[in-house]
């Protein structure tokens, strides 16, 4: 039986217990009312203490369940509650996930820097070739218009020879740089795998947490505890990072054009 199945059976059990508990509560209350109306206060007080007992029993049962769920969830999180803190860190998949993500940041950063190194190395080569080609073309046109002296022609011949040599070497270098840039994109494969592992873990943790919250909700129901949940106000000044599913969110712009439209509507 999978964890999910166990949880579902557990849910059915608790549902039944809760119904049972509520039914008992209803019956005992009716009984109490009739005793109070009949003026039998000794019997009524006895019933009040029975009511308390029923509530306590329900409460103990739910707290017991909650504790068990908490334990199961912890087991599912793969956190070993051993005494050795170092061992704990090693055995926790959460910390393993953090390590994986840190490694992803490392890999992407290295790849981006490697790519930029190679681009920065290639750009001046392209710029040099362009400058030289431009100047040679001017000279070449002069030759076509027969405006060169024999000496200038000899210079142009040598310069053209050097340029063609350079061109061979430098285009080889640019080609090598481009191939290396291509290889540097290999990080995507590794980071993809690492992130998928972490995503799976996050999903598992979320499922377990939701189960715990449901359990805790039942305890609240029996004890009659009500929480004033105050959602923290979001400070617009605090950035939240890239927004997802921009096309589906009316509060998020989906392109630079949207930004420009919004700003121009504000008088920019």
């Amino acid at each position: 039986m999978s964890n999910n199945e166990i949880a579902r059976y557990g849910d059915a059990d608790t549902e039944a217990d809760l119904d049972n508990f509520e039914e008992q509560l209803r019956q005992q209350t009716e009984h109490l009312m009739s005793k109070v109306q009949a003026g039998d206060f000794a019997e009524a007080l006895k019933l009040v203490s029975e009511l308390n007992e029923t509530r306590d029993r329900g409460l103990y049962r739910e707290v017991g369940r909650l504790t068990r769920s908490l334990h199961e969830a912890l087991v599912n999180f793969h956190i070993d509650a051993g005494n050795n803190p170092r061992q704990q860190a090693e055995l926790s998949q959460i910390s393993d996930a953090s390590d994986r993500l840190a490694y992803v940041v490392n890999l992407t950063s290295n790849a981006a820097n490697r790519t930029m190194d190679l681009v920065e190395a290639s750009m001046p080569i392209a710029a040099d070739l362009k400058t030289e080609a431009h100047e040679l073309r001017n000279e070449w046109h002069k030759l076509g218009r027969r405006q060169l002296t024999p000496e200038e022609f000899r210079q142009l011949y040598k310069r053209m020879d050097r340029f063609l040599n350079d061109l061979t070497q430098k285009s080889d270098q640019v080609h090598d740089n481009l191939s290396e840039i291509l290889l540097a994109q290999g990080y995507q494969d590794l980071t993809g795998q690492l992130i998928q592992k972490v995503t799976t873990l996050v999903r598992e943790v979320e499922e377990n947490l939701v189960r715990l919250v449901k359990m805790a909700g039942r305890v609240d129901q029996i004890t009659g505890i009500q929480h004033d949940i105050v959602f923290p106000k979001v400070d617009v000044g605090q950035g939240e990072g890239p927004q997802l599913q921009k096309d589906e969110r009316p509060d998020v712009v989906s392109s630079q054009d949207d930004v420009d439209d919004l700003l121009s509507s504000l008088g920019f």
Binding site: G239, V252, V253, L266
Partner: protein
Amino acid sequence: MKAGKCSAKYWVSSVGILEVALDKNMKILVVDDFSTMRRILKNLLRDLGFSNVEEADDGTTALPMLKTGKFQFLITDWNMPGMSGFDLLKAVRADNALKNLPVLMVTAEAKRDQIVAAAQAGVNGYVVKPFTAAVLKEKIEKIFERIDA
């Protein structure tokens, strides 16, 4: 040169279009917590002819640099540990010596509320990541066009 003043000149080009000549020597501060993004911005700026560029990794390090008065233009990310770009923008606008400094925000923050807040805080331009070299160029030119107009 005072911050944010006279960084561009106009002339009517041969085809009669009003063009803007940016002061390519102006000192620019690029603020982003990711070194790769700083490097990309520096490269793009160099392609646009701006080579006088310095970097900072968040508002806390950027503000004292700006207070030296050496910079004529600030390009900042929004979401950074320490002091965010938005807080940096507000600090710049609150400082008498810096309040006219042109600020371009280059950020992944794309919520309408945030863009409106940045505009109200006095940002001069807003570019959402990922962006292109053409968009960056256009926004920088627009900022200095407006300032000199």
